[in-house]
Assembly symmetry: C2
Homo-oligomer: 140 residues x 2
DNA sequence: AACAAGATGCAACGGTGTTGCATCTTAATG
DNA sequence: CATTAAGATGCAACACCGTTGCATCTTGTT
């Protein structure tokens, strides 16, 4: 299991493996959509693990600092968090059922980023790209 | 002046031209970066025009409904608003000086959206794309 | 078992944005 | 110019996301 690798890696670097930490990691790993802080909290509670919202925010902050978890913004005012072995995917987000899927268009964007440097002398550090629409299930 | 066109257009459609409305329009038109609600409020106050934050939110909502103003998200949790003749949603945002420039890659993205329909049966309604980095001025 | 660093909970707070309601302004009408 | 009704504004209160300070509890090491 990859979550075990993550846990061992954290421990080897001198970090603690608390109940909440391991729960957040395994839960986010199993989730196929990025979750907000509140959703993480709710999901833990379903497994009978109570955690204060402050703890959740501090935990995602910790996991982000350690490169385990990544933030995504869907433009509704809340951060969402996901565990992704290779950072950066873009997503399709269904506006009806909220289903999220990762897609890849790195090659096209890398080409475009090179053009931005060449034409506008703008050095891209990061970007955001999300598509909102109707997924295949909802459209059927 | 284009702001006059906007004002006449609004009036012709039966909307009122209040002090705050005209001030928001001309101020946003002159601004070369998208502004948050708070920044709009502060900018009006610099011109001795006081406005309640509720009024600002209602005004940007009104202007958005009338297709005059567009929202942009930079991922810091606040909406920003910009007057743009053609609704144009991609930008380079300098993380040092906050300068924002519009860029065009519609053709590439339209191609990609057609592929999303074809391959994943995902119908794109809208998307977000912003590049964060260092602009030519800051990099010099 | 003792201990220090780290994790947690709680309360309070700040910021963004919204809503209900009372009041004021705009612009059209007589 | 006075009237008037719709629309605009201000105010207070609220909801929500996220953060901070501080006291307390856990973890893992000695």
């Amino acid at each position: 299991m990859i979550t075990d690798d993550i846990l061992h890696n954290l421990k080897d670097r001198g970090h603690r493996l608390t109940k909440i930490r391991t729960a957040v990691i395994s839960m986010l790993w199993l989730s196929d959509v990025p979750l907000s802080a509140f959703e993480i909290k709710a999901s833990l509670e379903k497994d009978k693990i109570k955690a204060n919202k402050t703890t959740i925010y501090r935990e995602v902050s910790f996991l982000r600092t350690n490169g385990i978890l990544h933030e995504i913004q869907f433009g509704d005012g809340k951060m969402r968090y996901k565990i992704c072995p290779d950072d950066h995917h873009h997503h399709t987000i269904c506006v009806r059922c909220s289903r999220v899927e990762a897609i890849s268009m790195e090659k096209d964007l890398e080409k475009y980023e090179r053009e931005l440097v060449r034409l506008k002398r703008f050095k891209v550090l990061r970007h955001t790209l999300e598509f909102f629409g109707i997924c295949s299930r909802c459209n059927a």
